[in-house]
């Protein structure tokens, strides 16, 4: 599909330590005419550089990162852009993470059907 003039694609940052999963999400999101992955990170440190330099509408975060928890990014994200949508996408949500995840806009299971994930990214991006 070609990008229509005047319509802006939803800009997404994806933070995920698993490279396979990162690549897969990139293919998935970029295959959508209205979504574009503008930044990817495998660690918290990497993600923070993107937060400082890039602009995006939606952040898709994994929780378990090699250098910390994806939740620790939420404050930085909101400071940089109060309107940013935050989607937690995690394989297993333990009790402590779930409670802290209350700050996110949405929490989804990595096992959720992909069209649901796409739907959620759209909803947050267009909000």
């Amino acid at each position: 599909m070609t990008e229509e003039a005047g319509t802006e694609r939803i800009r997404v940052m994806h933070v995920e330590d698993q490279a396979d999963m990162r690549d897969l999400m990139e293919i998935l999101l970029n295959s959508q005419s209205d979504i574009k992955v503008v930044a990817q990170a495998g660690t918290l440190v990497e993600a923070r550089t993107h937060v400082a330099r890039s602009e995006f509408d939606v952040a898709v975060l994994d929780l378990g990162l090699p250098d910390g928890n994806g939740l620790d990014l939420i404050d930085d994200l909101r400071r940089a852009n109060p309107d940013v949508g935050v989607l937690i996408l995690s394989a297993n949500l333990d009790a402590a993470s779930m409670e802290r995840a209350a700050d996110a806009d949405e929490i989804m299971d990595k096992l959720a059907p992909l069209d649901e994930v796409l739907g959620t990214v759209r909803r947050l991006g267009n909000a």
Binding site: Q18, D20, M21, L24, M25, I27, L28, S31, G64, A91, N92, L93, D94, A95, M98, E99, A101, A102, I107, K110, L111, P113, L114, D115
Partner: protein, 450 residues
Amino acid sequence: MLRTGEPEMMTEIPEELVDQAARDEEHRELLRKLDLRSFMIVPLVTRGRTLGAISFVSAESGRRYGEADLRLAEGLAHRAAIAVDNARLYEEAQSEIAERRRAQEELQDSRDQLEAVLQGVADGITAQDSGGQIIYANETAARLVGFPSARDLVEAALEEVMARFELLDEEGRPFPVDSLPGRRALAGEEGAEEVLRFRILTTGEERWTIVKAMPIFTEQGTVRMAVNIFRDITESKREEESLRRVTEAERKRIARDLHDGVLQDLSYTAAAIGLIILQADDAGLKEQLQAAVDAVRRGAQGLREVVDDLRIEDEEGQPFTEIVESVVRRNRTMARGIEISLEVGEQVSSAPLGETGTQVSRIIQEALTNARRHSRADKVSVSLAMDGDDLLVEVSDDGHGFGPETTPGVGLGSMRERAVLIGAELEIESEAERGTSVRLRVPLSRRALQ
């Protein structure tokens, strides 16, 4: 005469009598030479018994006994009898004293032997009188409760003994003094037994013991005393504890490996197949791939449950009400369209409930998951209350419920299993269009937990 006990006297002994008394010719010649003239015999009588007799015989003096002599002889015999009797009584008293001393020594010996046996056994032994005061203790018992010697323990006042240590149950909760086996034995209970932890306050040392107590009754059937036997199980408890730590570390490692490795791979696999489905045009192929995705999801779900169970023990030391609050908060995060309320009754203690607390929170979690996924409810209420020693838990929703014709959610079977595990009663009430209530009655009294 000895038979009658009466005195006899013969003033003049006739010669014929001497002849008759002689056994033979030689004897007669001897008796005649003695020239026996007069004769008296008086009995030795005391306290109505004849002990013997004294014979008086006069010979060459030619004296003849008269009544006055007889009275004198009787007086003499009376005194002699008393003297003889006293001598005998004295002798009897002496032998009785000796006998008693011997019996006492024997008793002391057997006491010493018993003491040696009681001191030698590995178990602590104490005896309490009906007022609870310790009247006997062996050295092991003294050591178990933090006294330097058995004598110190016996001589200490009961309050002083009790002030030495903190009494805890197996899980480390305070143990009520009135439930001590010794107290119960004094109240007449037979076979009272508890596993207790004594935390000695001065040293901070903790000792685990199995305490058994038995009452000893008087002939009238009242309790005379209680005997306590303390078996120190500290070493085996410590071994259990370190084994538990090793097992826990192992469980955590397995949980982490499954979570970080297998679960991530399964998530990726499901997403990767999902992506192919989105890109594929062939309806038949899509269908086949969807079946594969579903299977991977089921596997991942099962694995999550395993990981959750492996992590259960982390929660056991947490205050119970905090665990429930955190479950409710978590579900509020996950189910934004549903209002979840939590009400905790005043009587509900926040103390950790160990495995019971974990299982109860899991049941609440499953009830909330069902409400979220299947009920289409707007409101869910969670309430905790006490009814005597029982904890009452209720999770109710205003959703569409499941009538008898509907298949209950997957969590129901597992809720039942968990309830059985902690001896709780589970009641699930669901009516189409009337919502669902999950009610749980959990016995919390110490006795019920055993």
